[in-house]
């Protein structure tokens, strides 16, 4: 009797498309790794560097210099003097009023 090589029977797996889509779309921050103390090189947990705060809210970050025409400069200086402020204080006040703190 001659042997006949049968091709394997292939059945489709049950691919739960809905579940895969649902889980894939529900990415969470859980995967980002957690901080840990007392870590050795062989520790399975990733050490996280303690970084200084990067927020500079409330701090002066940049000085801007402007070139103004004489008449505009005079107007601003006059208005500042009237309010008893320096030129900078007066301009900052106006910028805050326009853009918020």
């Amino acid at each position: 009797m001659t042997k006949v090589r049968k091709s394997p029977i292939i059945l489709k797996p049950t691919i739960d498309e809905k579940m895969a889509l649902q889980f894939a779309s529900a990415a969470s921050p859980a995967a980002s790794g957690a901080a840990s103390d007392n870590l050795t090189a062989a520790s399975p947990r990733r050490p996280t560097a303690k970084r200084a705060s990067t927020s500079d809210v409330g701090k002066n970050v940049r000085q801007i210099s402007l070139t103004l025409k004489r008449d505009l400069y005079d107007k601003i200086a006059k208005a500042a003097a009237r309010k008893n402020r320096t030129l900078e204080e007066h301009l900052i006040k106006h910028l805050i009023k326009r853009y918020g703190k």
């Binding site: 292939i10 797996p13 691919i15 739960d16 889980f23 894939a24 520790s43 990733r46």
Partner: protein, 219 residues
């Protein structure tokens, strides 16, 4: 029933493509197999496949590529009707596609080299796996050691640390630190087609172990 093996690891260079290509080639010796490359645009597995098909065209090994999770699900559904095994090579990130691989796969393999960096990234991956189990309680993920130098103290220490810290099942067979793996990949071969007998033995034993695990799963 078609079985799906997902290779996931967020650390680059951990051996995902080495695993994927060698497993796919091994499975294709006997049954139709599709290798799905999700690590794009790097496309290591696709390049390996292109080389292989140019030199040694195999009629039972197919390639598909998926750029996102929607495409992956679509390709998996298509290929499941022509292949007995699907081997998915994941990207080195926890993205939607990695998450989809966790749900689609009958077995997720996490290649792990004996280095602290790879162990840390695996720890990160575990959190996503736990999350996946809330959707699919039987997500089966196992560690697969690569570039393992059993005779070194460092490898043994890391192995012990992983056993204690990660609490994840491991494949019994491991791949060692061998030139044959990178050589085979560059030539479009699988290690079982190379001369290095030790490397051949390791891949064969590991692939057969994976087959056994898949066979034991509910039909």
């Amino acid at each position: 029933m078609t079985k799906i093996v997902g290779i996931i690891q967020t650390k680059g260079g951990a051996g995902r493509s080495t695993f994927a290509t060698n497993l796919a080639a091994h499975f294709s010796f006997r049954e139709p197999t599709t290798l799905i490359d999700c690590d794009l645009p790097q496309a290591t597995s696709s390049s390996w496949y292109a080389l292989r098909q140019a030199e040694f065209p195999a009629k039972d090994l197919f390639l598909a590529q998926a750029r996102d999770h929607v495409e992956l699900i679509q390709k998996a559904k298509e290929q499941a009707s022509v292949s007995r095994y699907l081997v998915i090579d994941g990207p080195p990130r926890i993205t939607e596609i990695t998450r989809a691989i966790m749900i689609l796969s009958d077995l997720c393999l996490i290649p792990l080299g004996a280095s602290a960096a790879e162990i840390w990234s695996t720890a990160d991956l575990l959190k996503t796996l736990e999350e996946a189990r809330t959707y699919k309680p039987d997500v089966d993920a196992r560690l697969a050691w690569t570039r393992f130098r059993a005779y070194t103290r460092e490898a043994q220490d890391l192995k012990d640390a992983v056993k204690k810290g990660l609490k994840l099942e491991e494949l019994r067979n491991r791949l060692g630190y061998r030139v044959a793996f990178s050589e085979a990949l560059a030539r479009g071969l699988c290690v079982e087609e190379c001369a290095d007998r030790k490397a051949k033995g390791e891949v064969h034993a590991l692939a057969e172990e994976v087959k056994r695990i898949l066979a034991e799963k509910k039909k």
